[in-house]
């Protein structure tokens, strides 16, 4: 177990470093830079002026030196500053984390609250009406892009019926209800995108577990059906489901970019999109590094948890 832990941590660190190199390199390959974006075809600025500002910002240094300066700062907690706002990257990220975190966690909770019971009900009566309808809905939801779902929600609940606001975000400090009102549609949109993954995987696992001999034994001993399902089959089915949870979290982190855009929420996703368009190097590098590191850490935690819960996995190669 210790060897597995050490190996997984080393692999995770390598992945994080690789991600940092990838995002740094990708940004430098793209044409343009934040200085050109700022002056954006404004007259009165010469090429010499642009070159002077580039020197001031260190853009004339070799790429390796620029990368080293950045990553050395990261290890000291200094992610740099936005070229446009002069806010530190940590401040900008801290401002944008609450809506993204709420959206991610909220969507996963809604997803689990609906998918797990639905998967259980489908698995205990496979082929029946509920199973068929649920599976159909899962296929439909899987094919439906998140932005389409979001726009439909906006039309129904905001534009035509004025039941909920059309977008934005209110922090919890402004009240629980204002926060929920603005979060419910985006969270449901993202949850609908994740539900099919959890539902189909869990249903499949449950059907397999319910056909196992220990389940027949338990039922033969007179245990109630739902107790057998929940206390025995579900527990075994959830272990591989944890892996799915890690994937769903990654899917959610990627999906927040689209959902934040549709609902005008100022989260990490919109911060990254704006920084990419403006070539705000420090901000985009910091944001992508944070999101990817989060995903890598979640995957690591999920893997280790699975290893802990299921001793059979400890004997399998990495």
């Amino acid at each position: 177990m210790t060897r597995y832990l050490v190996r997984r941590v080393i692999v995770s660190v390598v992945m994080i470093i690789g991600t940092s190199v990838l995002i740094f390199g990708a940004l430098r390959i793209l044409p343009g830079n934040p200085i050109l974006t700022r002056f954006g075809a404004n007259s009165g600025v010469t090429a010499a002026d642009i070159a002077k500002i580039e020197r001031q910002l260190g853009f004339d240094h070799p790429l390796v030196v620029q990368y080293w300066n950045w990553i050395a700062g990261v290890f000291h907690g200094n992610f740099g500053k936005s070229y446009f706002s002069q806010f530190s990257v940590t401040t900008l990220i801290a401002q944008r984390i609450p809506p993204t975190l709420e959206l991610t966690v909220g969507s996963i909770l809604i997803c689990l609250l609906i998918s797990v019971p639905a998967a259980i009900l489908s698995a205990v009566r496979p082929g029946r009406s509920f199973d068929r309808v649920s599976s159909m809905f899962a296929s439909f939801a899987l094919a439906l892009p998140a932005f389409v779902t979001g726009i439909m929600f906006l039309l129904i609940f905001s534009v035509h019926n004025r039941l909920l606001p059309a977008g934005g975000y209110a922090p919890l400090s402004k009240g629980v209800w204002p926060n929920i009102r603005l979060m419910i549609l985006p969270a449901c949109t993202l949850a609908i995108a994740q539900m099919p993954l959890v539902f189909r995987f869990l249903r499949g696992q449950l059907v397999e577990e319910l056909s196992a001999s220990y389940v027949r034994t338990a039922q033969g001993k007179g245990a109630p059906r739902m107790r057998v399902v929940v206390r025995h089959a579900l527990r075994n089915a959830l272990i591989p489901g944890l892996t799915m949870l890690g994937l769903v979290t990654g899917y959610a982190l990627g999906g927040v970019v689209v959902v934040e855009y549709v609902f005008g929420m100022g989260g990490l996703g919109s911060l990254a999109v704006t920084a990419a368009n403006q070539r705000d190097y420090a901000v985009l590098q910091g944001t992508v590094l944070l999101i990817s590191t989060t995903f890598i850490i979640v995957s690591l935690v999920v893997d280790l948890t699975c290893q802990f819960l299921d001793p059979r996995l400890r004997t399998q190669p990495l």
């Binding site: 343009g32 830079n33 002056f39 404004n42 706002s85 002069q86 004025r162 039941l163 009102r181 403006q278």
Partner: protein, 511 residues
């Protein structure tokens, strides 16, 4: 779960839902119950990245100018220069020395009195080469700025400039002692102060308790960045926003048909398209090629299909609108004529099979539509136009700043200026235009026009410049356009400058 517990859960669910709808109904009842006061919710698709007026990056930031800051002069809703922090001004006989008399009793929002020393230090900050102020063209004529007592400032110019009060409108008086915290707590003299700011996301303004003038009618202004114009329009119709600024023309059709919305446009539009080509390299080095391109542009189709009719056709490669008092009406009209275009291209050595590139950006979808219209026109005379769309940074990097070479490219762009021809003609001063067009004749005429208060002298020299632009066609200017804003019909007092800067300081929310 037994039947009774199910009923309790169901009842609870219904009650909570009803409460939610009730709360919602109260919350979206509108920002004010009576005339005046209330919160104005404003949306833009471009974010506000920072608050320093000297470092303005995007035009949306200029909306904050009259709310947070004051300068010596300002543009009023009639398009005329008006007093701001300076109540009056005068010049020497040759318009080379200007004296501005300051308003008394003005304080910064932190309660500190504003003096002439603050004006001088603000100007010096703008003039400092280390300050990346974008609009330094008008200020480059300044030789020195000095205080003349506590309530007067004297500005010495390198050359005579009769329109100098126009040139200082972008310069805002900043509390230089608080410069380091300008993005978290900007200290200005405007009617509002910043309550909270998340760059490119949200900005909340509330009343400045130390404002020198009458308090604004609205109590609070919330700015939010909308993901795109459609989302902003949706928020407007849903009542979440009361103002949506700088809306693309594609959204105006729905607004015109909606009785709860109204369109705010500049009284004297000063925006025009500038399709740039490299006049120093490639096929457009030849003036006949540029003239040919002018004849090949179906401006009417561009206006109706790309700009939804919001604008005016302009066929003389002239940046001045036909309603501008200095417009020269005796210019060659490059009305859509493919036969003439083909003949001129041939004279320039461009024949069937030639390829140009339309280098555009996805940030302005109307440019892609315009490119497609031009592509269809050129195809009729055997010339191929490749359309390449990029993000803004990639688009700008190809041709900006002036001096870059981009043979064979046609680059859509636009300018937004006030009605005074000084601003439009500055674009064609040597070394300014990315089209790389340098004319000493234009430079001389510009200097003479700017330095004189004599209307005849000004008119003669502006005419001279317009004739050169009309003949040389350094940029194609097929349309005069306006970028309008959409406002809820419950809001009055919102207006736009010629250059499309939105003014909210006089907004009133009706009951």
């Amino acid at each position: 779960m037994n039947v009774r517990r199910r009923r309790v859960w169901a009842t609870n669910l219904v009650v909570v839902s009803l409460l939610g709808i009730g709360f919602n109904a109260i919350s979206t009842a509108g920002p004010a119950g009576a005339s005046g006061g209330g919160t104005l919710n404003v949306g833009f698709t471009a974010g506000i990245p920072q608050l320093n007026p000297a470092l303005v990056t995007f035009s949306v930031e200029e909306t904050l100018f009259p709310l947070l800051w004051d300068g010596l002069t300002m543009w009023n809703s009639k398009g005329k220069i008006a007093p701001d922090l300076a109540t009056s001004w005068s010049s020497s006989a040759h318009n080379q020395t200007w004296t501005f008399n300051l308003r008394s009793g003005v304080k910064f929002s932190n309660g500190v009195a504003v003096t002439s020393a603050d004006v001088v230090s603000s100007f010096n900050y703008y003039l400092n080469p280390s300050t990346p102020f974008q609009d330094n063209t008008g200020l480059s004529v300044i030789k020195s700025v000095t205080a003349n007592g506590a309530n007067s400032v004297v500005i010495q110019l390198k050359d005579p400039n009769a329109s100098f009060p126009d040139a200082v409108t972008p310069v805002k008086v900043i509390d230089m002692a608080a410069l380091s915290t300008i993005d978290t707590n900007p200290i200005g003299t405007g009617p509002f102060i910043v309550q909270s700011f998340v760059p490119n996301s949200t900005l909340t303004l509330v009343h400045n308790p130390n404002y020198w003038g009458s308090p604004a009618s609205v109590s609070q202004i919330n700015f939010t960045t909308e993901p795109d114009a459609t989302a902003g329009y949706t928020a407007l119709t849903a009542g979440t926003l009361q103002v949506m600024g700088q809306v693309p023309d594609s959204e105006l059709t729905g607004a015109k048909a909606n009785s709860s919305l109204k369109i705010v446009a500049p009284a004297n539009p000063g925006s025009y398209l500038t399709w740039e080509t490299d006049t120093k390299a490639g096929p457009f080095k030849n003036v006949k090629a540029r003239q040919a391109l002018a004849y090949a542009i179906n401006a009417k189709a561009v206006l109706s299909e790309a700009y939804f009719g919001a604008g005016k056709v302009s066929t003389e490669a002239d940046p001045l609108s036909t309603t501008n008092p200095f417009y020269d009406g005796k210019l060659t009209k490059y009305t859509y004529n493919l036969k003439k275009a083909k003949a001129l291209f041939a004279e320039a050595g461009i024949h069937k099979g030639a390829t140009f590139t339309w280098w555009t950006t996805s940030a302005y979808p109307e440019w892609t539509t315009a490119g497609q219209i031009l592509q269809a026109s050129l195809a009729n005379i055997g010339i191929h136009l490749k359309i390449v769309s990029n993000d803004v940074s990639t688009w700008a990097a190809k041709f900006y700043p002036a001096g870059k070479s981009y043979p064979g490219l046609i680059i859509p762009n636009f300018q937004s200026v006030s009605g005074d021809p000084v601003f439009a003609m500055t674009f064609y001063a040597p070394g300014r235009c990315e089209c790389n067009f340098n004319s000493s004749a234009i430079a001389a005429a510009y200097k003479t026009a700017v330095g004189s208060t004599n209307t005849s002298v000004q008119s003669k020299n502006w005419d001279s410049i317009q004739k050169i632009l009309n003949q040389e066609v350094p940029t194609e200017t097929p349309l005069q356009i306006a970028t309008d804003s959409i406002v809820s019909s419950t809001v009055s007092g919102v207006w736009e400058e010629s250059g499309n800067q939105l003014h909210l300081e006089a907004a009133v929310i009706k009951g």
